[in-house]
Every structure is written in C-alpha cells, then in structure tokens.
C-alpha cells in the first residue's frame, strides 16, 4: 500500500505517495528527476548514491524513501549556492578529481561531510574518510588533493 511522504530536497518541499519498497535513490532519481545521484553497486559498498540526510552522509540505495519522511535532504544538485560552486566542487574541478564522473557526486557529498567534521584533515584521514566511496578512474590521489584544496578554501572563507 502506498504511503504519503513529505521530504525537503535541496530546500524544496515534496509530497508524494510511494510504495514502501521504493528506495530513496529511486525516489530522488525517478520521481523528482534528480539524476545526479547515481547507483553503483546496490550493496552499500561503492558510495555513488551518497546524499546528505539531515546533514549526515548516507547511502541512498540502502534506505527506503518512507524512512526519509520529514527529512531534509541535500543532493549534488543542491550543493552549489546562488550559482556558486561549493568549495568541494571547485576542488574536484581544479585538481582533476574526476574522470568519468560517475562516482563524483557521491564522492563530493561524502567529502563535504568529511571537512565539516574535520576541517583540516591529513591525507591519511582523507583516505580513511572516503573508504565508503569507490572510484575506478582516478587512483584517488587527485581526489585527496581536491579535498585538501576545498578544506583550505573553506578555511579561508
């Protein structure tokens, strides 16, 4: 039986009737058309589907949409403010932190939480903080540099 949910995504309120089994990632992609959040592994390993739910990075392929009823969600589409890239997006661009781009939205979201919790992370802390996000293209080094760039930029703001 469908259930009513009300979710705020990127500062816009949405009300929908959904099947309980609808995964949050499919809700975002298929019902709201926010296709920036990707599905990579479906077993909660790769992190391509990472979004912020009430400020916390979670894997949206391992959560039902009904569980997010009443929540505030940020997806990659909501990260820039007033058309300005988030420092983390800027870092990924400046440091070539992406190639095919598929893991990138989840990686960027996870990385924003990382520097929120630890504003001046070491390289080792960055690498461990991104254990839940797999990238098959970059070899991670440019991603580490992107996070360093963003942390510095954020500190300078």
């Amino acid at each position: 039986m469908k259930q009513a949910i009300s979710i705020n995504v990127n500062e816009v309120d949405h009300r929908d009737e959904v099947e309980p089994r609808l995964l949050l990632v499919h809700y975002l992609r298929d019902l709201l058309g926010l296709t920036g959040t990707h599905v990579g592994c479906e077993t909660s390993i790769c992190g391509a589907c990472t979004i912020l739910v009430d400020g916390q990075a979670v894997k949206s392929c391992t959560m039902f949409a009904v569980q997010a009823d009443g929540a505030n969600i940020t997806t990659i589409e909501g990260l820039a403010t007033n058309g300005n890239l988030h420092p983390m997006q800027e870092g990924f661009w400046e440091k070539h932190g992406l190639q095919c781009g598929y893991c990138t939205p989840g990686m960027i979201i996870a990385a924003t939480q990382l520097i929120d919790r630890n504003p001046n992370p070491s390289r080792d802390e960055i690498r461990h903080g991104l254990e839940g996000n797999l990238c098959r293209c970059t070899g991670y080094q440019h991603i580490v540099e992107a996070v360093e760039y963003a942390a510095k930029k954020k500190a300078d703001l």
Partner: protein, 797 residues
C-alpha cells in the same frame, strides 16, 4: 602551432556538468512511456533448458511482454565476434539462450513491464526447468578434456596459434641458464562504476531507431546492431551519452543491446535496461585469465638469448567482440623493453563455462609485461645480479630505433635507459637498497620491485585491426566564429573534450572556450572507430590536427583573396592572417569578431574594406555568407580527415615500488611508489597524471586484491562488490610521478598514448617488490592476487 594551451595543465571543460550532477548517463535519459526490461539469467554454469513457463509472468501487473530464446532464434542475429584467426571455432551466440545455458548469468528470458520494479517482480514468476550438465571450469583441465561445451567442435579448444620470430630452440640451447616459471594471470572484472545500460526507442512512422548505450564504440555498435536486427544501418542512430567508465568492458556489442533494439521495434515504445552490479559481475566481459609457463634463456652476464611462453587462455563460454584476439596481443609484447633475438608464444584458446573474457585495460599486454618483467627478476635472482643491471644490459640503445623485435613489431622511438635512470634517481634506489639491508637485519620484510615496460598503443594501423584502425575528425568554424570539433573517438572520462580543444585552439589561434568537442552520436559525427587501446589522442587527436590543417588551407585561400595577396605570402599568428606588409604593424588596430560576448540580433556583415589582416573567425563568416569567395571555392569552412597511422606507438617507462610485508599476517603495505613514464609529447599533463594514477591503482588491484572466482560448479563466488575487492583510497600509496618525453615519429603530434600505461607497468613492479621482500625465505614467485594468506604461507613455509 603556437602553444598557448598544448602542454599546459588545463582543467577540464567537461567537469562543470559532472560536478554539479547535471550530466546524463544512460539511466538519466528519460523518455515518456518507457518500458523496462528485467532478465531471467541462468543459475547454472552448464545446463539444458528443458522448459520455460512464462504464463504467470505474463499475467503479472504491468507486464507487456516476455521473450525467450525461441522468439529471437530466427529474428535476431548472433552476438558478433570480429576476431579473425586461422581455424578459429566460433560458436553461435544468440542473444537469449536457446537450448542450453553455458554460464551463470546467461540471459534466458526478458520481461518487459511498465516499471522496473514490476519487471523485476515478474521475472521471479518465470519458471525455468534445467537439466544440469557437467561443467568445464578449470582452463587447463578443459583444454585437455572433460565436458565439451560446444559439442559441434568436439573439444573445448577454440584455436591454437604460434607466433614470434627467430630460432627459439637454438636460442635456448645457446644459453648458459634457462629459467622457467609458471604464472597465473587471474580473471579480473573491469567494474566500471556505471554498469552497462541501454535505452532503445523505435519511431514506427519514420522506421528509425535510436539506441542510447553506455559504450566505447558507438559507430561499430551501430553497424553490428543494424546487422543483428536487420535494420538498415542508416536508420539506426547510436548515442553514447555520458559513459561512467569502460576500461574495455564497453568495447563490445552485447546481447542486451541488440535485444533491446529489437524489442523496441516489436512494441513500438522506448525500452530500457540498466544493468545491476550483480549482472555486471556475471555478464559483462572479464579480463586476463591466462595460465602460462615462461622459459627464458640467458648468458652468464645477463644477456637474454630467447623467450618462450606456452599459455592457455580462458575464453569463457562464447566469443564476444574480440575475445580470441586478446591473448594474441600478449604474443606481440613478449619482447618487452629488451633485445631478445628469439621469441615464441604458443597459445591455446579454451572454452569454459564462464563469462567471456575480452579487452580489459591493457588487453593482453599486461600479461606480456608481467611475464617479461617477472622473468627479468627471476633471471637476476638466478645470476645473483641486481635486477636493474639485467634490464640495462638488454635495453636497445636509443639510437637503435625504430627497433625491430622478434615478435614482429617495429618500436617507434624510445630511450629506456633515460626513464630507468630517472626512476632510480627519483626513488633514491641505492639508498633504498641500503635501507632494505638494514631493515632486513632488523627482521623486517621490505621489498623493492621494479618494472621497465613498453606497451603498444595508438591501436592501430588498419592492417592490424579487425574493423579499421584509423580515426576521424571534422572541424568546422561556424558563422559566428565558434569552433566545432566532431571526433570519431568516444571518450568516457579521458578528457578529450578538453585535450582536443587544446589542440584545436592552438592550431586555430582561438580561445579555448570558443571550441566545443562533440562525440558519441552517430547522427552527428562522421563514422569513427572509438576509444580503446590508448588510441584516442594519438590517432583521433592527429585526425583533429590534420583536419584543421586542411581547413586552414582553405581559410588561407579565402584570406588571400580578400586581402588581395598570394596565399603563400600570408602570415598566420594568433588566429589572424596578415598580408606581408601588415605583419609587422600587427593587429592592434584591426577589429576582432567577438566570440561569446553580448548577444547580438543578427550576423554582422563582414567588414573587409581596406583590411590588411583577418581573423580565421572572420574568414568563417565570409565563407558562410559566400559573397567574396575566390573562384571555384566551396562555401562554408569545415574539413574532415580520416587519419590512418602507419604504425603503433610504443610508450615506456620504469616503475619502482617499495613494500613492507607484515610478517605475522602477510599483509602488504606500500612505503613508496615512483613512476617515470614516457608517453611521447603531452597535450595536458594534468590528464596524463590522472591516467597514470588510475592505471597504477587498477594494476595494484590485480596484484593484491582482485580476482573473479568461480567454484567447481561454475558458480560465481565473487558476485558483488561485497566479495570482489576494488582498491580503496585508504589502501593506496602516494604516487611520485615524473616523465621523460620521447616524441613518437608516427604522428605529427608526437604523442604515444597513456590510457593503459599504469595498468601495464605497475602490476609486475608490485609483485616483484613482494617477491623481493620474501626472498630471505627463498621465495622466487607468487601468483596474484597476493592475498595475505598466500604471502603468510610462503613465510611459514
């Protein structure tokens, strides 16, 4: 060409859409009334399908149709194999299993429903009766006998091939030592982060079909799918939207692509299938999967006299596009970076009840490099000399290029010693060895490993390729002065939207932002080959460059006509043609055609009166308005070029890594990783570094973590990313990179290619380091992946 952009670390123009989450991969393309496909796949590795009951599925909510093998047996052609080898056995590979299922994941039925959840539900309602058959899993056993997969061939041997030059028997006989080593190149899964995906939309009125597919080869796919479903090729349009990684796994034409196209025609509606990760592990091609024995003859001073490699290649149950050809590439590269007078490879391609193997990043060359580079270390150990010296001893000198190998190749250019020396300096090799001795004395297991590789890139001359080895480009300057580059290459993360724009902007003297690179749409782009084999820049980039040179010939003719002088007397600088007298006065007083500034209502009239210089963008306007053209000149300003390279290119380099092994657990930890690579001229160092990093990590994945494992029943044990270990950020070292730059004479850009270098060079460096660390225990070799348990067993004896 004035290098304002080429050679610079320029950030990518494709990134903004990707970092904002606004790019479109196949599943992001949304069409109204799209139907969704779910597959029923074989749960057995080898079984006769005795019946399929779809009655319940057809009654399920939202279900529109169900198809099985009998529906497509006479209507959809077989999955194509483009490899041509003498006496190659090619089984009939239908897009849905007909009669027998030959591997776990083999598609048996396709359910079409209005929603992907409903399609999945209905797939559970299809009941398939199987009669299990004995399975052929182990490749060496399957080569010798056991259950035959394709009865019509009488055995599981798909082909045998001998390659190489020189008298190998004599060469080995003349050696002071012969070292022999069996080596396993384990089966790997490419695991592009975006799996495969297909969206097919048939237009019944127009009788046209558009196929969105996550592929590396849009044009080749169009040709093949058109043949498979019997649609005229010019009625089929293939679009590759954003592609989330390929690594060779999307250099193919799969059953699902043709089937979805056919279903869309049957139903007259868009149909979509997005591969799950489980399907990706089961039914997207795997790579490597060779078991071989190498014999190397050497003199007492380390001179290599000959190399023989006898190998069985695990092909899987069927041939995909290039399956049987991949192991033959191994034979081409068995000379490595060395002068080896006689080389022979004897390869046997073997069918097994597993998914097909095919091109995975490196495609046959990593196996060769691994064999040669492991062998160099084994020779060094046998002769008790430093592995550096064995390598140095056998390098051809830089003056010997083009260098002919006993594998039948002519290496284009190289200075192997320079790259080796740079890597030795950067790593502080002598000091590392001293530190290692000290650490060993303290009971620590430190290993230093190196690999001096050569790889074959820029695939390749058409003679060497099944479907053409050229690449195409069209370059246009539009009336408003923007530049459009259409490339037949199909980048999917490599960044050619940027690097090709760099080439074009420099060659045309325009701003980088004025250039847009378009790829991956067969309705827009002239026929092309695609992106694989580190070919896009060396072959496709060259096509862009030469197309621009053609375009400029015409632009110069127009400029000369308008400026009233000889074309040959014109100077071209900064995007501007100048009359000889005006060249010194320069362009300061000349108006520019604005590009990308404030919007205008209409095209400006070209103002040519009394001008002594014209920008190439003004010439484009003149060429389109076509009122002031020289006689017999076609209007418009565009040029197309199909570049046919004369040879492959041969990038090279030396990687050195230092590892520490945990004596108690067998775990490997990196202490250093140094890579000096030579990929010829570099268009964008930032992108080259990215390719090297990513390649090395995939190589480390093979060395330490990754393996596709089938059990004795042919069940896939590593069916999810919970089991198949991809390298994680926390496990990887910091890479210290440097380069040498030896231009390739094969193309005017002097570039060689870099997409696979890391994957090819790094695997043996890592394994050599581990073996070196374990040498106090008398260890001479270990097979990949170097799981902690395997290492621990070698330590404990």
């Amino acid at each position: 060409m004035a290098a304002k952009y080429v050679g610079k670390r320029i950030k990518r123009t494709e990134d903004p859409r990707l970092i904002k989450g606004l790019a479109h991969y196949v599943d992001d393309v949304r069409l109204p009334d799209t139907l969704h496909v779910a597959f029923v796949r074989s749960i057995y590795a080898h079984a006769r399908i005795t019946s399929i009951d779809v009655t319940e599925a057809l009654k399920a909510p939202g279900v529109v149709a169900v198809y099985t093998g009998k529906d497509i047996a006479t209507t959809v052609g077989p999955v194509p194999c483009a490899a041509a080898l003498p006496d190659l056995k090619i089984p009939d590979y239908r897009v849905l299993a007909t009669g027998k299922a030959l591997f776990v994941g083999h598609p048996i039925a396709a359910v079409v429903a209005t929603d992907r959840y409903l399609a999945r539900d209905a797939a559970d309602l299809i009941s398939v009766d199987y009669e299990e058959l004995p399975v052929a899993v182990d490749v060496e056993a399957s080569a010798k006998g056991g259950p035959v997969i394709h009865e019509q061939f009488g055995s599981n041997i798909a082909y045998t091939l001998t390659s190489g030059e020189g008298d190998i028997e004599a060469a080995l006989k003349s050696a002071d030592h012969i070292v022999t080593q069996r080596m396993v190149h384990q089966r790997l899964a490419p695991v592009a982060m975006e799996g495969r995906g297909v969206l097919a939309r048939y237009f019944p009125g127009e009788e046209e079909l558009t196929l969105w597919s996550s592929t590396q080869i849009p044009h080749l796919m169009r040709t093949q799918v058109a043949l498979m479903i019997g649609l005229p090729e010019n009625k089929l349009r293939v679009i590759t939207p954003e592609v989330g990684g390929g690594f060779g796994s999307k250099l193919n034409v799969y059953a699902e692509e043709a089937l979805l196209a056919w279903i869309s025609i049957q139903l007259g509606k868009p149909v979509k299938w997005i591969e799950s990760r489980r399907e990706n592990m089961q039914a997207t091609i795997h790579g490597r999967a060779q078991v071989g024995t190498v014999e190397v003859g050497c003199k007492n001073d380390g001179t290599i006299t000959g190399l023989r490699y006898n190998v069985v290649a695990d092909l899987g149950a069927y041939h995909q596009l290039l399956t049987p050809a991949i192991p033959t590439l191994t034979g081409l590269m068995l000379s490595g970076a060395y002068r080896i007078p006689a080389i022979q490879m004897n390869v046997t391609g073997v069918f097994t009840n597993k998914m097909s193997t095919d091109a995975y990043r490196g495609a046959g060359r990593p196996e060769a490099t691994y064999v040669v580079e492991r062998a160099m270390d084994i020779v060094a150990a046998e002769l008790k000399i430093d592995p550096v010296e064995v390598r140095r001893k056998n390098f051809p000198a830089k003056t010997e290029f083009p260098f002919h190998t006993a594998t039948g190749l002519d290496y284009d250019s190289g200075d192997y010693e320079a790259a080796l020396d740079k890597a030795l300096n950067l790593s502080g090799y002598a000091k590392l060895r001293a530190e290692q001795a000290k650490a060993r004395a303290a009971g620590k297991l430190i290993g230093i490993g190196m690999s001096s590789y050569v790889e074959i890139c820029a695939l390749g001359p058409s003679q060497a390729m099944p479907a053409g080895g050229w690449e195409s480009a069209t370059v246009r300057i539009e009336p408003t002065g923007t530049v459009t580059v259409l490339t037949g290459a199909s980048p999917h993360g490599q960044g050619q939207e940027t690097s090709f724009a760099q080439i074009a902007a420099d060659e045309l003297g325009v701003d980088l932002n004025a250039v847009t690179v378009i790829h991956g749409d067969t309705a827009i782009v002239q026929y092309g080959i695609g992106t694989f084999g580190s070919r896009a820049t060396a072959v496709g980039g060259t096509a862009v460059l030469i197309a621009i040179q053609k375009l400029k010939e015409k632009a110069a003719k127009i400029a000369a006509h308008v400026l009233r002088c000889e074309a040959s007397s014109l100077a071209f600088e900064g995007g501007r043609y100048s009359r000889p007298s005006a060249a010194a006065a320069s362009a300061v007083s000349e108006p520019d055609v604005a590009v990308g500034e404030a919007p205008a209502g209409a095209l400006p009239e070209p103002d040519t009166e009394g001008r002594s210089t014209l920008t190439i963008q003004e010439i484009a306007l003149i060429a389109h308005i076509a009122k002031e053209l020289p006689p017999d000149t076609e209007p418009g300003l565009s040029a197309t070029y199909f570049f046919e390279p004369k040879n492959f290119t041969f990038p090279f380099g030396t990687h050195i890594c230092v590892v520490e092994i945990d004596k108690e657990t067998g775990e490997t930890k990196f202490l250093r990783y140094v890579a000096v690579d030579d990929c010829g001229k570099v268009i964008n160092p930032l992108l080259v570094d990215g390719q090297i990093h990513g390649g090395i990590v995939q190589a480390i994945g093979q060395a330490l973590y990754e393996e596709v494992v089938y059990d004795e029943q042919g069940q896939l044990v590593t069916g999810e990313l919970m089991d198949y270990a991809l390298p994680k950020a926390s496990q990887m070292p910091w890479f210290e990179l440097d380069r040498t730059e030896t231009p390739s004479p094969v193309n005017p850009l002097g570039v060689k290619g870099v997409g696979e270098a890391g994957t090819i060079g790094a695997t043996p460096a890592v394994v050599n380091a581990i073996v070196d660390a374990l040498s106090p225990y008398g260890v001479k070799h270990l097979d990949m992946p170097a799981r902690p348990e395997a290492v621990w067993k070698l330590i404990t004896g």
